[in-house]
Symmetry: C2
DNA sequence: AGGCTAACAGACAGGTCTGTCTACTGCTGT
DNA sequence: ACAGCAGTAGACAGACCTGTCTGTTAGCCT
């Protein structure tokens, strides 16, 4: 049970929610800790108690993004029916959904990785995320009966990344549509 | 003709070359003007004379990237032969070449756009670059006889972007290979 | 020779950023 | 009742960043 008077969730939750919103909109580097503090209505000491370094907050942000995006991906696949080959295409509906969302600004992981030093924890976390997603797609491809599930998964995640990455510039849903059609073509070719 | 004693090209060239190297490695935001000055062996006043704002230097950097990348793309297409349908696939060799290059760190445009405010000149310049490339691919697709050149171009540039974007994490050439195979499949399907 | 121009060298102002620290407040469990 | 804990409020240090400004040096053209 939350202690103190907590206007909207615990202080930690408010910090995370605010960080999520600001980090996604401007990139972690583009948002000062002071701004997060001001907008979440939290004391500086509180933030630094929960997240001793700004990087810790960034990593928590990425965890939240991971849950949201991977969840959306699986939900879209599930909604496409029981056939793995349909699910492989259906997951691209998650991309369309993201494009339509207001304030869509591309892939949080790629955007964050682009502004983080190469060997750091942010990079590692991003690689881990992409690896987990690709493993899941690989398993779907295997279930669908692909001759080379690794290759098909690589091709489809490449498409996903492309759609997400260009989202930094343009949330045009035509991108998601093109990606989905590509996916259909690639899946059909791989399972012919 | 260059005035003064210029150890390696004009001061302007040295600044640009240094900025190119540092900006690509760490992102423009991750490199201070002082660092560019120190590494290019130039006086501060000189830098600010040629590039009154840091943004001007960033834009010049993007121009250089545009030339290099678009040039590599066209060269790869040219090397694939005279048939437009082969050129559409062949341009992906430029991606493979980029992946192999030491210090490869993904798409400079996407990386820079990710850390720049949404409405600014950097964004506009990036959109312009992507638009020009896509227009070129569209023309190739039209020459190849695609029923919907716009769609095919969109699909192929999506693949390119995906390959470039994931380069921020991993320069594995298997990515370029997967992209090239996807391109072959998509082109064949579109021209069947 | 002398003026012009490009560049060098570096101090400086004003702002922002992260992270630390002190002092205070109020709820909760024992 | 009271200790402990979670939080508030905000000053502060130290680093870094952009952009300006002053003064000096050296080649080039007339």
């Amino acid at each position: 049970m939350p202690a103190h008077r907590t206007p909207a969730g615990s202080a930690r939750d408010r910090i995370l929610e605010t960080a999520f919103r600001l980090f996604y909109a401007h990139g972690p580097r583009g948002v000062g800790v002071d701004t997060v503090i001001a907008e979440s209505g939290v004391a500086k000491a509180t933030l630094y108690k929960h997240f001793p370094r700004k990087d810790d907050l960034v990593l928590a942000y990425l965890d939240r993004v991971d849950q949201a995006w991977f969840g959306a991906l699986r939900a879209a696949a599930r909604d496409a029916g029981d056939e793995p080959r349909d699910q492989l295409v259906g997951m691209f509906d998650a991309l369309a959904g993201a494009c339509r969302r207001d304030g869509y600004h591309g892939c949080a992981f790629i955007n964050t990785a682009a502004e983080s030093p190469a060997g750091g924890p942010v990079h590692a976390r991003t690689v881990e995320h992409k690896t987990v997603v690709r493993a899941w797609v690989t398993e779907l491809a295997r279930q669908a009966g692909a001759a080379d599930p690794e290759l098909l998964a690589r091709q489809l995640t490449l498409l996903l990344d492309g759609g997400l990455a260009s989202g930094v510039l343009d949330g045009d849903p035509v991108i998601a549509d093109a990606a989905r059609r590509s996916a259909r073509t690639l899946v059909d070719a791989a399972l012919r």
